[in-house]
Symmetry: C2
Subunit: 193 residues, 2 copies
Amino acid sequence: MHDILFDFISKYISLTEDEKNALLSLDLFRSVKKGTILLKEGQKSQDDYFVLKGCIRKYYIIDGEEKTTAFFTEMEGMTPHCVKNNNKSEYFVSCVEDTILTVANPDMGVELNTKFPKFQLMCGVLSEELLAKQQIDFDDFKTSSPEIRYLNLLQLRPDLIQRVPQHQLASFLGIKPQSLSRLRARILEKSKE
Amino acid sequence: MHDILFDFISKYISLTEDEKNALLSLDLFRSVKKGTILLKEGQKSQDDYFVLKGCIRKYYIIDGEEKTTAFFTEMEGMTPHCVKNNNKSEYFVSCVEDTILTVANPDMGVELNTKFPKFQLMCGVLSEELLAKQQIDFDDFKTSSPEIRYLNLLQLRPDLIQRVPQHQLASFLGIKPQSLSRLRARILEKSKE
DNA sequence: TTCATTTCTTAACTTAAGTGAACGAATTTA
DNA sequence: TAAATTCGTTCACTTAAGTTAAGAAATGAA
């Protein structure tokens, strides 16, 4: 299981055995049950997450309704906004499936970064990379209709459509569950012709 | 004019006179006329932009139609995606107004970063900050209707609504120009009651 | 200034998403 | 296992966005 993390890191920097051990000694790994809430609205947290296996989900509750805005699966990490500015979280993070993840907080970060400066380097590269990806995703979202968004998702992340409940997918696509059902029926109808 | 840049940088790191001079010697400053296209689709570019005065705009041409996805005004910077991966740009960048900006490319970056490592530090912090902001913007977009998006924009960036043509604003809000007109009329109608 | 072009708005019509309700299926939990 | 809850779909109806077209207003160029 640890290998997933090391494989991921090795895309950015190479680690010595010493460094791997230093990482392991931090006791980062957590195994969490489906449905577990990792972060609640209003909560202050310093943790950020990296998914080794499973799926976590970020959602807001607006007017009593859940609005899911992101999913994170294998080899994806999320840094809640509140980590940076020490504010209360505006959203929830919970597990869509039984999930294995690493949980890191800045204290660990500081420790690692002073011992092994290359970690800091990796974080910089990582966040630039994420920023670029995020911008493309946002542009795609803005320039597409819900139907096109769904078809794109079908192409790019077919696994998500299988493993995630429809009503959560719907708000991820910016629509209501009923509209997603209808949209799917419409597409199926078209493909029959 | 240079002060705007230094004011901005001083929010992240403090510069000595030497460092300021090193920056100035790179001849980063450009004054560009309204309508000038800074980056074209299909073009490879290594430049990134920081707006000192004016407004630049990022847009795609999809099925012959312009789709504006972002505006950058005073004290905002943009790094085209193609800078990172050396791909051809998928979008255009042009000036909404006469604009004064700095244009930097990685060669300059390398020079500065080796002379003054703190620049690199700033870039890391900056992109983490941008990433966080970007995520919030994306979440807001996903969880709001076009009308709410417009009202939010009116609150948060009233200047944009004044200085940017309506049809560019429309696609920025994810709708057609006609829908934006109608939506504005609708809001006006409501406020009269 | 005048002419041409672009931009903005309005309108009528079409298409798709939002809403509220109903119902069966799947999943939880007691 | 049985009851309760959650989930996905469908339907009828409402609301809002897309489309096409037309004309007025603003802008830019000759």
